[in-house]
Subunit: 63 residues, 2 copies
DNA sequence: ATTGAATGCAATATATATGTTGCATTTGGT
DNA sequence: ACCAAATGCAACATATATATTGCATTCAAT
């Protein structure tokens, strides 16, 4: 259930609300995803990855 | 909206129903995903990728 | 100490992913 | 041509992702 969204976002020095707005989501949704309490949709994951200059594997793949 | 699930599944020579059962989904859901008519959840994408020995980027990332 | 921004958290409402059932169509083998 | 398996498709029901609102908490700056 864990991921690297928070680290990638902080590396960009943007806020949860900034990220949320730029991907068409809400701050709450971003917060829940970062805390691993959500099972987000693929499209939202892709939007987040693109905004943070990462790929799906970078953010959501654990081996 | 497109992806590489169908190609990866056929490379394994398994059916939609086989894939569905092994990831805890239904045949219909797999079919809709393969035809790009769905926005699946991240967890389902991960399950599918693992079953097909692929990563998220392999199946769902287009650059 | 105080203020405001950033985040966490909870309750409720809405949109949509997914399941269920059933039937039609396609496809591969005989 | 025939048959069975695989797939597509549609209607409806259910589960859950996401939005909305509001409030509490943390934390950096003043």
């Amino acid at each position: 259930m864990s991921n690297n969204v928070k680290e990638a976002r902080l590396a960009k020095s943007i806020t949860q609300e900034d990220l949320a707005k730029s991907v068409g989501a809400t701050r709450q949704t971003i917060g829940l995803i970062e805390n691993g309490k959500y099972n987000p949709s693929l499209h939202l994951c892709i939007s987040i990855a693109k905004r943070l200059d990462k790929t799906l594997d970078d953010l959501f793949w654990e081996d």
